[in-house]
């Protein structure tokens, strides 16, 4: 009953005209950037983060959250119609979605993706609603040692799941931690790596770094390739799947929802990995695995469901522990902090209107997304026809405005350009940006909790092993780190490895 009355409070916040408007703006922009290749949810959210400075925390967080789960809906459209994923979580949808489009079944593919996304998105919100209070109550017992070890585990999972070399990903995570330390030390007030620059005293900005690594770097990489792409002129009429489609998709949707939600909760997990795992699972369970890759609707329904459920599940560690499980949630953490709100176990008690308002807005957002992605699908198809050579100057401009708007400093624009070139070079040489960004956000928290734990234990490192939760996290992290050395695990990791964010 308490949950229901809290949800009632949430709806009263989410239904306020301003919040409804920002919810719509969020899901609309999310679908838009999901449809457009070349800009993902991370870059879009960092671009719009400064805009939230001028609005209430509720409206700001509702909009940013909408962009994230909205992009999961939109991402499938390009995968199915153009065979280019709009964002990373829809990569796997290309395999069967595009084949369905080639067979004249683009409509049911898009329809099933949207319906599956709606079911998963709504189920994830229900899960979040019931699980978050329990998690928050549990998280109150966490001390600095537990927080430190959980963050180490989160970073380790992200590193483990990264494409290519684990060692390179670890190097990036180390670099991210160090970049996060730039500025005034919160305990001793000593300036670190500021080189006499006043702009560095507050530390490096998250938005310029993310926009550089994910926005500018992506554009620079695209500039090296031929900019034109061919759009599959598919017939997208008849969006409703057939009876047979439903029969084949019910299981994948149910499994994708549970799998995605659970993976979303795990630190380091997220929408991308859940979509890949759902595809692998459905192929394994299918009586006709040979149809996968040739237009099997299960290959669309499962992954598209899983990535939406994961997007919802990812809110749990952020809202209840204050720990972002992936880069997108790291950006949301930034948005919370900018508004003077600290997510964590006390959020539900101290800011119930914000917490439940965001949860309720996700119900509303999912309904809006169903409307945006079913009857209005034709609009997004038209948008796909705008050539990239026309789009990229505009995306560049939005990045420039976004970086400047954070603190109205030209320095941030230079910082973004610097990280843009760095991100482009990192892509070239196989170093991934996601571990760097998550470590950058977690770095200061990691340091604070380590120092607090050591001060509490009077310098005894045993504190991390004496506490059960901390010990479990560290053992899990250690096992993951040594697993690439074992050939069977290495093969499994390679299969699962993909790029987050």
């Amino acid at each position: 009953m308490e949950v229901l009355s809290s949800l009632w409070l949430g709806f009263s916040v989410a239904m306020q005209p301003t919040n409804l408007m920002f919810c719509f703006a969020g899901v609309f922009i999310g679908t838009l950037i999901g449809v457009l290749p070349g800009i993902g949810p991370v870059a879009a959210m960092s671009l719009l983060l400064p805009i939230t400075f001028n609005i209430t925390p509720e409206a700001g967080i509702i909009m940013l959250a909408g962009i994230y789960y909205g992009s999961m809906y939109g991402g499938s459209t390009t995968s199915i119609l153009v065979n280019i994923p709009g964002e990373a979580a829809s990569v796997i949808t290309c395999l069967d979605g595009y084949q369905m489009a080639r067979q004249g079944r683009a409509g049911p593919a898009l329809g099933m993706a949207a319906i599956g996304s709606f079911i998963a998105g709504t189920a994830a919100v229900v899960g979040l609603m019931f699980l978050a209070p329990t998690m928050s109550a549990f998280a109150v017992k966490f001390g600095p040692a537990e927080y430190f070890s959980l963050m180490v585990l989160g970073l380790t999972i992200l590193v483990w799941l990264s494409q290519g070399s684990v060692i390179k990903a670890l190097v990036m995570a180390c670099l991210g931690v160090v970049l996060g330390l730039v500025g005034i030390d919160s305990i001793t007030a000593a300036p670190r790596m500021t080189y006499g620059q006043l702009q560095l005293l507050d530390g490096l900005g998250l938005v310029p770094i993310v926009m550089g690594l994910f926005g500018i770097a992506e554009i620079l990489a695209n500039l090296e390739q031929k900019l034109d792409r061919h759009i599959f002129e598919a017939n997208v009429k008849g969006l409703m799947p057939t009876k047979e489609d439903w029969k084949r998709s019910t299981g994948p949707i149910a499994r994708g929802t549970v799998l995605g939600f659970l993976l979303g909760i795990l630190p380091g997990g997220g929408a991308v990995i859940s979509s890949f795992l759902s595809y692998a699972l459905e192929k394994k369970l299918s009586k006709h695995p040979e149809q996968f890759g040739k237009g099997a609707i299960e290959g669309v329904a499962g992954p598209e469901t899983a990535n939406n459920a994961a997007a919802g599940g990812g809110f749990i560690p952020l809202l209840t522990l204050g720990i972002p499980p992936n880069v997108v949630m790291a950006l949301l953490l930034g948005a919370f902090i900018v508004h003077g709100v600290q997510p964590g176990p006390l959020l539900m008690v101290q800011k119930p209107d914000l917490f439940w308002g965001v949860v309720a807005s996700m119900y509303i957002g999912n309904v809006m997304l169903l409307v945006l992605n079913m009857p209005l699908i034709g609009m997004w198809v038209q948008l796909l026809k705008v050539p990239y050579k026309i789009l990229f100057p505009m995306i560049l401009l939005f990045c420039l405005i976004g970086a400047y708007s954070v603190s109205n400093q030209i320095f941030d624009v230079y910082l973004m350009l610097g990280f843009g070139v760095l991100g482009w070079l990192m892509k070239k040489y196989g170093y991934e940006p996601a571990p760097l960004v998550l470590a950058f956000v977690l770095g200061p928290m990691l340091e604070n909790n380590l120092r607090k734990a050591l001060i509490l234990s009077r310098g005894e490192f045993g504190i991390f092993l004496e506490r059960p939760i901390s010990l479990v996290c560290l053992i899990a992290a250690a096992l993951l780190l040594i697993s690439p050395l074992l050939p069977s695990f290495a093969a499994k990791r390679k299969e699962m490895a993909t790029e987050e964010g």
Binding site: C174, L227, L397, L454, R458, G459
Partner: protein, 157 residues
Amino acid sequence: MAPRLRADTFTAALMLALAIYIAYEGHDLGLGRASDPGSGYIQFWTGIIMAGLSAILLVQSVLPSADKSGIGAPFADIRWGKVLYVTALLVAYTVALEYLGFIITTFILLVVLFKTVEPQGWGVSLIGSALTTGVAWLVFVYWLGQQLPSGSLLSGD
């Protein structure tokens, strides 16, 4: 012929040098004691871990069994032309922004990007640039209340 310096060797050496510098800076800040860690404690140890990892990468890159994807010469696969050109344009835009202001600088940047990167006709370039600049100004400055530079040369600041 195999390149004299492999890309992976080059980047690993660069990371190693960076890690040593990070550890050195951390040490300089002060490590403190385990019971009261100083400002440089985490930085120092992160630098040391990073140096160890980079050293492993360095050794891996020179082994005969090195990953074939990283054996090209450091700058062999890079098509610098467009990337350098666009980066230079963006730096120039950033420099000019404070002097000429958002509207003029943005319009010029967009015309140059439209006209030169994947060349468009003058009509598309000029109309596209004017429309994009106008819409961006309306949305960000007028509607969302962002403060974008108005230009010190024009305002006489």
